[in-house]
């Protein structure tokens, strides 16, 4: 076998492509939510860079404060992240930690709930992965051809101010088809309680929200309307367990998971409720 690899010409662009890829790889945060990731050894460096930047460039200082991930009352950061893989599955998890300055009770409750939720989701996926693997082998599949199930759990901060903190724990699982699920958390930092829609819109919340969404739907095109599975109004779908979050602008966004009110092709639907 005397194949000479030198015969493959190296294109001139290679260097540039590689340099750009390195830059992209390093500068894109690992996940959308990991804008600020601090590890032991780099804390000091980061701190020094911060101080220097904050003091010298006013514009930079302003934008940094606006990110507000490090709020006065509430801090959300990556508490732990881990990766796990075997023949059946390939799992990436990053667990957030919520630090509510002074409100230990709520803080413990929220963090405990999050870690329990994530543990349960990971376990459920592992069981499912094993079942699929067993079924694959039982039907004569070659173990080497099995594609591990890819599970990714991460979080995204939607809103942090002195008043509210809103974030979502996302889970995506890729098997034959991909499936995504989001768990939304909204905390009223002033009262130290988990927010619900009734707190925001009053006892008439179902009607207020449904009217707003119905109006938005009526302005959409026919294809969209035909893909909905609702009968005239979404009011029957709005209840106290309705998922929602608070966006950057402080508006309430109602979230309908895939299949809930529409055919699967539309995916997850979000409606920004105007007004409030």
């Amino acid at each position: 076998m005397s194949y000479k690899k030198e015969k493959i010409a190296i294109p001139k662009q290679l260097d540039e492509v590689v340099n750009k890829a390195i830059y992209d790889g390093l500068s894109t945060p690992l996940k959308k939510n990991r804008g600020l990731k601090i590890f032991g050894g780099t804390v000091l460096t980061l701190f020094i860079v911060f101080v220097t930047f904050l003091n010298t460039i006013p514009v930079f200082a302003k934008t940094m404060y606006e990110i507000d991930i490090i709020g006065d009352i509430c801090k959300i950061f990556t508490f732990r992240e881990y990766h796990f893989e075997d023949d059946y599955e390939y799992i990436d998890v990053s667990i957030p930690h919520i630090d509510l300055n002074g409100n230990d009770d709520l803080e413990n409750r929220v963090n405990l709930e999050i870690s329990k939720l994530i543990d349960e989701e990971v376990e459920a996926s592992k069981t499912r992965a094993k079942e699929y693997y067993d079924a694959f082998i039982a039907t004569g599949g070659n173990p080497e051809d099995f594609y591990p199930i890819y599970v990714n759990i991460n979080y995204e901060i939607k809103h942090i101010s002195d008043k509210f903190a809103s974030f979502v724990i996302n889970k995506s699982e890729t098997l034959a088809s991909a499936y995504n699920i989001g768990y939304y958390y909204n905390i009223d930092l002033e009262t130290g309680r988990i927010l619900n829609l009734q707190d925001i819109f009053g006892s008439d919340y179902q009607k207020i929200i449904a009217d707003d969404i119905d109006k938005q739907i009526s302005k959409k095109n026919k294809d969209f309307q035909d893909s909905l599975l609702i009968d005239g109004s979404v009011i029957d779908y709005i209840d106290e367990f309705q998922e929602f979050y608070i966006n950057d602008e402080g508006q309430i966004v109602i979230v309908f998971p895939k299949y809930e009110i529409s055919v699967g092709a539309l995916g997850t639907l979000e409606f920004v409720i105007e007004g409030e």
């Binding site: 194949y3 190296i10 294109p11 890829a21 050894g41 080497e144």
Partner: protein
């Protein structure tokens, strides 16, 4: 803001030092310069984004090649029909004008008839001079599987080349 740790520096150095090898592996696999460049680029971006999954820096090479190889497979999957047709025409072309080609080129074209997994093993073993154990780690298989596939691939190659020698 770019923060690099010592591990990161080592990864970047490894990438820069070996970029031509990466390109050659990708190119041998897809036979298309643009696609090969895309593969190298994607592999580097993915590797760096997922660099926290590299727990021991000693496994850097295996870890990176695994990402690169997977990227090659993904590309082939995406453009399977297109590529197969393209390479088959090349192959026929090479039969017609075979006296212009050396044995090496015949091997090069005969390789396109191998299924993806076999082809990758040939590339890693003979073009990149990797050890069987190394290939096993990269492709997440055991050494026996690599050996079996290697013999199978060589047998197919030999048959194909005898046809037009």
């Amino acid at each position: 803001m770019m923060l690099t740790t010592r591990n990161d520096k080592e990864i970047i150095e490894f990438i820069k030092d070996n970029q031509e090898y990466f390109f050659r592996v990708a190119f041998s696999y897809v036979k298309n310069q643009d696609q090969a460049l895309d593969i190298v680029q994607e592999a580097i971006v993915k590797a760096l984004q997922k660099r926290y999954t590299l727990r021991h820096i000693e496994y850097l090479k295996t870890w990176f090649y695994r990402i690169l190889v997977n990227e090659c497979f993904a590309t082939i999957k995406k453009s399977k029909k297109l590529l197969f047709l393209g390479s088959y025409q090349d192959f026929e072309e090479s039969l017609k004008t075979k006296d212009k080609y050396h044995e090496e080129d015949e091997l090069y074209h005969a390789m396109d008839l191998l299924e993806p997994k076999l082809k990758m093993i040939i590339i890693l073993r003979f073009f990149e001079d990797m050890k069987i154990e190394e290939i096993a780690k990269i492709t997440r298989t055991n050494t026996n599987t690599v050996k079996t596939r290697l013999y199978k691939a060589l047998k197919i190659l030999k048959m194909n080349m005898e046809e037009f020698v």
